[in-house]
């Protein structure tokens, strides 16, 4: 089960197998057709492929599932990105009159990447992750998932592991897909609390009254904070880390705590002292807005969104079930029911699932398979079903199926409502 057996040099050999026998085309097509309600929804969708040596092919589009399959099996992309649904077929974007080719709709997406947390995690940096800092992703998912459902009323959220160091969220509700750029950016800003770049020390500032969204987010953060930050990251252990935390406090509290910390070395107790000091100050000062402890928790744990990814309708995002070329891991859906148990290091790699197939196809068999396809898709289809089911990919495809079923159910509900309305006329 170890991942050390993935070697990126093998990718060119593994990809054809993956795209021929394992990639869940029918679910994928079912997803992006959205029940076929609006015309050309799948056909006008942009796909972009990254091929060997970082060759980047934008504006791919396909008329049918079969078309998509054939192309993917021919190109064997290292990475697949999904873009917007356009006014015309993206593959013909050069032939339409300039200015008329426009991005119309796309899922509302979120991209959370561990590299954006570099100033607040001590365990790893840059592209590295470990099970300790993965908690940050868990927190991010919990907070955003709640807000997108309860505050914004969305229902169909697909959370996906990016394959390396982050997670993506695809909000697939019809209302979300139709959001304007302005609305997307308003949602993203509503959800952003950590502000400021390299030139800012204090990145979270709360003011009175604390908005319900922030209170709700704090509930999540508090649930994880002690275990994650104080124990796991040893936030109040080393001198450097203590100094960093204290720099977020006003002078008087800072000095008081420096004194206390000379004798008090236990990190948990240190945190308690910090909270007490802040609370005391809050009661002595009439003016509101003394939320230093909460601000620290948020600065260290609150999800850091790449707002630009969410804003644009035409922004590309790595597709679910795409492979991460560096780690070989598949971008799989995440089950929120077992979120706390999700372990990125247990996500199957392409080498693993390819091994799990009985045996790799020989060249002859491969050729036969292609013929098979052309003649009787039926049996080819059945073959594939059997194929992925015998690998560790199966449970993730099942999850994807459940997600699609839920969407189909609410589409049906919508249609019933509409036809009921029509009957009334």
């Amino acid at each position: 089960m170890s991942t050390s057996d993935y070697d990126s040099a093998c990718l060119p050999d593994l990809l054809p197998l993956y795209y021929r026998r394992l990639f869940p085309y029918s679910q994928y097509y079912r997803w992006l057709s959205y029940g076929g309600v609006s015309k050309n929804y799948f056909q006008n969708r942009e796909f972009s492929f990254t091929l060997k040596d970082d060759i980047y092919v934008r504006y791919q589009s396909f008329s049918t599932q079969n078309d998509l399959e054939k192309e993917m099996q021919k190109m064997n992309p290292y990475k697949i990105d999904i873009g917007a649904v356009y006014s015309h077929r993206p593959s013909q974007h050069n032939t339409v009159k300039s200015g008329t080719f426009q991005a119309l709709e796309k899922e509302l997406v979120f991209d959370i990447d561990m590299t954006d947390y570099d100033d607040v995690r001590s365990c790893c940096s840059a592209a590295d992750i470990c099970s300790k800092c993965w908690t940050l992703m868990t927190i991010a998912i919990r907070i955003l998932d709640r807000a997108l459902r309860e505050d914004f009323g969305f229902q169909h959220l697909l959370w996906v592991y990016s394959g390396r160091r982050g997670v993506h969220c695809w909000v697939c509700d019809e209302a979300a897909r139709k959001l304007s750029v302005a609305a997307r950016s308003a949602v993203a800003e509503y959800l952003s609390l950590v502000k400021g770049g390299e030139e800012t020390v204090k990145k979270v500032v709360l003011s009175d009254p604390i908005h319900p969204f922030i209170s709700q987010s704090l509930v999540v953060v508090e649930h994880y904070f002690l275990q994650y930050a104080i124990v796991g990251q040893d936030l109040l252990g080393s001198k450097a880390s203590v100094d960093k935390v204290l720099s977020l406090l006003p002078e008087d509290i800072l000095h008081e705590l420096l004194n206390t910390y000379q004798t008090e070395k236990n990190p948990m107790k240190r945190w308690e002292h910090l909270r007490t000091a802040v609370h005391q100050k809050r009661t002595t000062i009439k003016k509101g807005g003394q939320y230093f402890d909460k601000e620290i928790m948020l600065q260290y744990c609150y999800p850091r969104l790449d707002v630009n990814v969410s804003k644009g309708v035409n922004h590309l995002l790595k597709s679910p079930f795409s492979v991460h070329p560096k780690t070989g891991r598949i971008s799989v859906p995440i089950d929120l029911k077992t979120l706390d148990k999700f372990d990125p290091f247990k996500v199957p790699t392409i080498s693993l699932i390819c091994e799990e197939l009985d045996k790799p196809l020989t060249a002859e068999e491969a050729e036969e398979e292609v013929k098979d396809k052309e003649n009787e898709t039926e049996s080819g289809e059945r073959r594939k079903l059997r194929d992925y089911k015998q690998t560790s990919l199966a449970k993730y495809v099942k999850l994807f199926d459940q997600f699609l079923d839920a969407m189909a159910r609410s589409r049906k509900g919508e249609m019933l409502k509409k036809s009921d309305l029509q009957k009334e006329f």
Partner: protein, 515 residues
Amino acid sequence: MLFSGRKKKVTLNQQNELYGHCLQFYCQPPLENISLTEFEAFAVDRLKLLKAVENLGVSYVKTTEQYKKKLYAEFSSLGFPHREEADDSSSSKNQTGPTECEKRRKDHISHFILRLAYCQTEDLRRWFIQQEMDLFRYRFNELHSKYKTEFLHKNNLKYDTISPDEKDNLKEQLISSSFGFSGTTVAEQDFYKVPFQDALDLVRTRKVYLKGGYAYIPHQDIVTIVLNDFRTRLSKALALTARSLPAVQSDERLQPLLNHLSHAYVGQDYSIQKNIGKVSLEQIDPLSAKSFPLCMRQLHKALRENHHLRHGGRMQYGLFLKGIGLTLDQALQFWRSEFIKGKVDADKFDKAYAYSIRHMFGKEGKRTDYTPYSCMKVILSNPPSQGDFHGCPFRHADPELLKQKLQSYKLSPGGIMQILDLVKGMHYQLACQKYFELTHNIDDAGFSLNHPNQYFMESQKLLGGGKEVKKEAEIPQKGQENTSSNDPSVPPSRQHNTTQAVDDMGDLDSYFLDE
């Protein structure tokens, strides 16, 4: 067809109907005939007003007293309606100015004329809608609540309120979603429930309670919903007007006038590089210390140190460099030579970055909104996040770090104090202007800063030689006083037109298609 000779008499009744309220939703196009002189004069005045709105919006926070005061002054001097009651006694006493009713007529007609001039392209529409919205927001907010309600009635604007039960259930949440609310304020006020998409400004700033996709808006913020309505209608109307445009464009009296009006909006266009090719790559280092505004100096430094800039930084800095005159080849060379010192090799650079640089210069792709960013854009949009160095240091840096930086640039302690005070008051551009004055050893910059490239040009002018500077100094207005001096100059067609001042303009309403 459009200029039929048929005359319409506007009855007193109609006037009352149209101009009964000091604020309009501009649902009805003007029905009367109007002379070319009046047409032109109204249009120019409204354009001045909109430019004033734009300039003030850059320099002041829109809710401050200063902003309101300055804008009020513009209203009075340009003769637009501001008072709530028509023809009250005080105005008839100062008989010199136009009456309230005349002002309202001007407001009405001038708005519709500018619709004609500003419906033509996406950019023009966006600008016009933005300014008209700011104008409307200001005027609506200034109304007494009685007149607000009257305005809603008159224009048939009805929004869903929530029941007292629901209000009671959500009391806690509603209180903690608005500043300064208590249980009683919640009980007293109506709350409107609208899809969150209709109240984006409140959503963005988390000033409203959200539940299940709906925003719960207290009556005091109703302007948000009304404004959203205003925008939707105006943008629809502009699209419709654009369709009747060919008719307007074939009118040789109107066409030059409208074109002139629409050209007047952008101010200086910094994407037109007069000095193209005049800057060599070796000069950039010294220039960045002498003539770059702080935002660009910071980006330049970060690029040199890290051999990389993230997307936001590349855009802000790249377009600025284009604006100061770098050619495409220079830009490619500049970015490549820096990036390959870091983690990116030449091959990767050509694949991943060169495209976007050519894009900035309009060589790839078709969308061409690639003018260098104004201060307003830098300050308001796309704030920097982790790993970013773009943005405006006066706005986005911690005051403490800003102070250190200014100290390291050897600014006097007194000067630094002044800058930090301006920053505290959220006058970022004025702070930047002060920085300009201090670093160029002058008392008064003599211009009103709104663009990093303007900063650069003014600096070069000062450092480059005295003659030009003298001439500039004759325009003494400082800072915001000169908003109306930015006015569009007199249209070239004016001379010609005055001779036909008696000409009848025909029915304006014929240009505005019904839905």
